[in-house]
């Protein structure tokens, strides 16, 4: 036992500390950048201690109107969560209640669709959405994203429904409740905590999504990641590195908070690319 403690002290903790350092430094540096004035950014050697300012954040919201893109991102992510709740959750429940031959095949098929890189779908989506007049709309982007979020949500929700005691459900059915009633009144309340995790993962995924948003939006529906990519298009000269960094920090704060909340469920979700691809 003492030997283990000594090993921990001389080897394990130092190595973990180094790993942690390299894990956080890119993000911490981004945070520092977001608090620096333009003149201080280009000082050589780079300063770790400096007089911090929030002007980058103020200007980003005021002059650059970054809040517009954040709102677009919020609506697209929120809409995707609603769509997942309405379409994927009842489907996941039904998959656990029905026994049929093609079930495993169907679920695998859905996962394969989820695993295919977005670019495969993007040319047809672009063409079809253009003809439907849905290009550069948030609705168009929500529909496109659902090719990933629906299978993701079904895959994540099935295990939660499987844990609901079968007796509980069949007892309600014997009492004359219809399947829809059993689903809404009995099954849903039991799995609510798990479903919140599912929705958070859907939210993170769509919040992070880049490829669809890049190609399917132009100006009105541009989401925050695409806006940051556009800012960077000119070596940061248009918007300025400080403001871009501030935008980056604003984007990653909700993701990190959410991810820590659902850490328990992440492993299963990760296997189908829950957070990004």
């Amino acid at each position: 036992m003492r030997r283990k403690k000594i090993i921990d002290l001389v080897a394990v903790y130092p190595v973990i500390s180094i790993a942690l350092f390299f894990t956080v430094i890119p993000v911490v540096w981004l945070g520092l950048m977001s608090l620096k004035r333009e003149v201080e950014m280009f000082v050589y050697p780079p300063r770790i201690l400096f007089d911090p300012t929030v002007f980058n954040y103020v200007d980003l919201m005021g002059e650059v109107e970054f809040y517009k893109y954040l709102i677009n991102s919020l609506i697209v992510s929120g809409g995707s969560v609603v769509l997942a709740a309405v379409v994927a959750i009842p489907a996941a429940y039904s998959f656990t209640r029905l026994k049929f031959k093609a079930k495993r095949g169907l679920i695998t098929w859905a996962i394969i669709i989820r695993t295919v890189p977005g670019l495969i779908y993007i040319i047809p989506y672009f063409v079809v959405l253009k003809f439907m007049g849905l290009l550069d709309t948030r609705l168009g982007l929500i529909i496109a994203d659902s090719v990933f979020t629906l299978p993701l949500a079904v895959w994540l929700a099935i295990p939660f429904f499987e844990q609901v005691p079968k007796d509980l459900l069949s007892a309600a059915e014997v009492d004359g409740a219809s399947p829809a009633q059993v689903f809404l009144r009995i099954a849903l309340p039991v799995v609510t905590p798990g479903l919140i995790a599912v929705f958070i993962l859907v939210f993170i995924f769509t919040w992070n999504e880049f490829v669809f948003a890049l190609i399917l939006t132009r100006s009105d529906a541009v989401t925050a990641p695409v806006a940051i990519a556009y800012f960077l298009g000119f070596e940061g000269q248009g918007v300025g590195w400080g403001r871009i960094s501030a935008g980056g920090i604003l984007m990653l704060i909700p993701v990190i908070v959410f991810a820590i909340m659902v850490r328990k469920y992440l492993v299963k979700g990760l296997l189908v690319g829950a957070v990004k691809y």
């Binding site: 283990k4 973990i16 379409v87 670019l119 990641p225 990190i256 990004k276």
Partner: protein, 289 residues
């Protein structure tokens, strides 16, 4: 009975129907596009060209290069991610103080938007904005102009994706390690086995199926590398860091050759699908659908 099942059937049909429309129809349209010479500017006359786009593909050096780049971005970073992820998982698989906080911090690279990963590294590699060139100079290394040479540009992207995906490998290995039975280890200790022997003869064989799963998912997801390239090198210098899907994007949406871009994606799709169907049916069986 038939009436009572209606709810289940409708729920599943809506889901399957939506997914079919969103995936099969595009796949079919993509294939159709690849047989024509179609673009928005020439929407009126779009002649059927048969396999001409496919023939063109195999004499297109930029395409062949892009396949090579795609392979590079799998073969180089994935083994590093798996090795370092396993190493960290082994370190964390013991009772440590603050292990919840440590694990939460390790989540960061994996969950943040890929575009922000690109942004972070673009700043880190920047000769003035980033700390890298200064601190490397302190130990006598002159930092390269990362994005201007083939090898350093590839290395820059490999470093970024390794950073991004180590936590993924680590988390999955850790979940596996924690589910292992303790008995074999206790028996091995009684028999006087060394740490290395235990790792080699007990841990590694146990980990084999998990390693397989991690490898499959890392390969599939590495094929989709895009945002990081978009934000750092843009495929350059030249087309040194341009994987196939990026070249397809440039072809379809910058050169507006939709049909030729579609052709590339069909080939890409065919390879991926063969791979995915073969492995994912095994994997979903292994982890239980």
């Amino acid at each position: 009975m038939a009436r009572s099942r209606l709810f289940y059937l409708v729920s599943i049909s809506v889901f399957v129907g939506m997914l079919a429309v969103l995936s099969m129809v595009p796949a079919f349209l993509l294939f159709l596009l690849s047989l024509f010479e179609w673009s928005f500017s020439a929407a009126v006359s779009s002649p059927f060209v048969g396999m001409a786009n496919y023939v063109r593909l195999f004499s297109d050096e930029r395409f062949l290069n892009s396949v090579l780049v795609t392979i590079k971005f799998i073969v180089i970073p994935v083994p590093i991610q798996i090795a370092l992820g396993l190493f960290l998982a082994l370190l964390l698989n013991r009772e440590l103080k603050g292990s919840n906080i440590i694990r939460s911090v390790f989540l960061i690279p994996m969950v943040i938007p890929p575009i922000i990963v690109g942004l972070c590294f673009r700043i880190l590699y920047h000769p003035k904005l980033g700390p890298m060139s200064y601190y490397l100079s302190l130990v006598g290394i002159r930092a390269p102009a990362w994005f201007t040479h083939t090898n350093t540009a590839v290395a820059a992207i490999v470093i970024a994706v390794v950073w991004e995906w180590i936590p993924f490998c680590m988390l999955i290995f850790l979940a596996a390690l924690e589910s292992f039975p303790k008995d074999p280890y206790e028996a091995a200790i009684v028999d006087g086995a060394s740490w290395v022997q235990m790792f080699w003869y007990i841990t590694l064989p146990f980990l084999k199926p998990v390693m397989y799963v991690v490898l499959v998912f890392r390969i599939i997801e590495s094929l989709a590398i895009f945002p990081i390239i978009f934000i750092t090198t843009g495929g350059g210098p030249g087309s040194a860091t341009e994987p196939t899907n990026f070249y397809a994007y440039v072809t379809a949406f910058q050169y507006l050759e939709m049909s030729y871009g579609a052709t590339m994606l069909i080939i890409f799709f065919a390879i991926l699908l063969t791979f995915a169907i073969y492995f994912l049916t095994r994997v979903t069986k292994a982890i239980g659908a």
